[in-house]
């Protein structure tokens, strides 16, 4: 695992697939824990795209690196209206 991650390109594109919205945010406005993620070798690399999609009572968040590779995959559950 490398100690120093490569420099971030500067923006992260947040995509809402349900609404078809895309919004690029300066990385300075994004929490540090979301700016970088480990790649498959455990090295921190920049996150440049985050895609959210709501399906039923779930929302998935996919975080991608500069090469289009998926770095983290999160499933969320809706907090209310659950049995």
């Amino acid at each position: 695992m490398s100690a120093t991650p490569p420099p971030h390109p500067g923006t992260i594109l947040f995509v809402d697939e349900n609404k078809g919205h895309e919004h690029a945010r300066p990385v300075s406005e994004v929490p540090e824990s979301l700016r970088f993620a480990p790649d498959q070798n455990g090295n921190l690399v920049p996150v440049v795209k985050v895609v959210a999609r709501v399906v039923g009572e779930q929302r998935t968040i996919r975080e991608y690196g500069t090469g289009g590779e998926m770095l983290r995959s999160t499933v969320q559950f809706r907090a209310r209206n659950m049995p």
Partner: protein
């Protein structure tokens, strides 16, 4: 004696008849040229129905046939004997007949029979009932398709309502007019006992009961697949999935770097098939953040994973607090109502967060398979966003299958992979496996190739 249409029209006491049904995808049916046939406790079947039912006395007629006079108002009626006739007729009830039993005998839906005889609730012996027009006659299906349909129907016993429903659908002109591959695909989709098939079968029956049901409408049904679950994880659990044997060792008290922050933890080692997976349970638990999975539930979930997926897992962290990223995503996506349940990283780290509602074993099983499936597909096929030729076999398999396991699977090829993998893995060794394999033969084969290959290295 042959009777001309004019003579037939002049026959006495002819009841008012509904118009003949239009035949789809087959030689047009002859127009009615005579008053209806009356048979005691019998009816005049279509040529196709006559092959399915024992209709002594209703077959073998010549080009035109006079029925024996019986003194009833319709005696002397003449019926044409050409095949494919859809002319409606009248049924004289026998003792013991009921509307449902007559509907079964006639091979028409009960609702159609009730509509054709408004106000009739109980049937008396000798009572005359209007027989609704039967479905137009479909042309015979090729032997290969018939074989496929027989295999699909074999899962249902003779006399089962579901089997009768499927036989009616497969005998419809709309089905006969579909392309051969679409016929096989549709049959594979709707013929099973599983929840995906059950929903598809209901949609198929609904479409076929509507006026104007056509091959185009069935093709649209295949394309849209209404009734699909939003996610495979949402399917009801029919059978316990196969799990590898496992043992749990520990704990060791450590400090671990959780996603929700460094915290004291109990480390347990879950041993499965010679692999050791460290599971860290945070001891810094925030009770208000909800329910956590137990160590046993996590171990059982790991044991339900395909070997190839499990070997990509470096460790599991059962977090004591919410995912700190939730707050930011709530703001960015303008919806605060979602809470993280599980994250799988490309580095093989899986985080499981507390939830507002207690999640069943099925949730951890399905989510682990799905989320780690993204790691597996990424290492096998590469990025799904950039053109990568390694995805081509999967894309081709999905196109040949032509069906989706869930609506979410349509979001992208990587979701299709993970959703199909979840369905594959959770159905292995269960009664549903063969049914799902019939629906997704190409992708199941592609999955088995992936799972049989050496575990993708880092």
């Amino acid at each position: 004696m042959a009777v001309t249409p004019a003579a037939a029209a002049a026959a006495p006491s002819s009841p008012k008849l509904p118009p003949p049904a239009t035949q789809i995808g087959a030689t047009p049916a002859p127009q009615p040229v005579s008053p209806p046939v009356v048979k005691d406790g019998g009816f005049r079947p279509s040529a196709r129905a006559a092959t399915l039912l024992d209709l002594s006395g209703a077959r073998g007629a010549g080009p035109a046939e006079r029925l024996p006079s019986s003194g009833d108002p319709f005696s002397g009626a003449v019926r044409p004997a050409s095949s494919g006739d859809t002319m409606p007729s009248v049924y004289r009830a026998r003792r013991g007949d009921t509307l449902p039993s007559i509907a079964r005998k006639l091979g028409v839906p009960l609702s159609d029979l009730q509509r054709a005889n408004p106000g009739v609730t109980r049937v008396r012996s000798g009572q005359l009932l209007q027989v609704p027009p039967r479905a137009p006659v479909a042309p015979p299906l090729p032997p290969e398709i018939q074989q496929h349909l027989s295999e699909r129907l074999a899962g249902w016993p003779q006399g089962a309502p579901e089997r009768a429903e499927l036989e009616r659908a497969f005998a419809s002109p709309a089905f006969a007019s579909l392309a051969a591959d679409a016929q096989k695909r549709l049959a594979s989709w709707v013929s099973g006992h599983n929840p995906i098939s059950t929903a598809g079968r209901a949609e198929l029956s609904r479409v076929l009961s509507q006026p104007g049901a056509s091959a185009a409408r069935l093709q649209e049904l295949l394309t849209t697949q209404p009734g699909l679950p939003s996610v495979v994880a949402g399917l009801p659990v029919i059978a316990e999935p196969n799990r590898f044997p496992y043992t749990i060792n520990g704990p060791t008290e450590v400090v671990n770097a959780f996603a929700s922050g460094a915290a004291p933890a109990s480390r347990f080692d879950v041993e499965i098939e010679g692999q050791t997976i460290p599971v860290y349970l945070s001891l810094a638990v925030e009770p208000k953040d909800g329910f956590r999975h137990s160590l046993e539930e996590v171990a059982r979930g790991l044991a339900a994973l395909p070997d190839s997926s499990r070997r990509l897992i470096d460790r599991v962290q059962v977090e004591g607090k919410r995912n700190p990223s939730d707050a930011y995503w709530a703001k960015v996506y303008n919806d605060p109502d979602f809470r993280s349940y599980m994250t799988a990283g490309a580095n093989g780290v899986v985080d499981i967060y507390p939830t507002v509602w207690q999640q069943p074993q099925h949730a951890v099983d399905a989510s682990l398979i799905h989320e780690t499936g993204h790691i597996l597909s990424g290492r096998t096929f590469g990025s799904w966003q950039t053109p990568d030729p390694r995805w081509q076999p999967w894309d081709a398999a999905a196109q040949r299958d032509g069906l989706s396991p869930s609506t979410y699977a349509r979001a992208s090829r990587t979701e299709d992979f993970s959703e199909t993998l979840t369905l594959y893995q959770l159905s292995r060794g269960t009664p549903s496996e063969a049914e799902y394999r019939a629906m997704f033969p190409e992708r199941f084969a592609a999955l088995e190739a992936v799972l049989a290959a050496p575990v993708p290295t880092r």
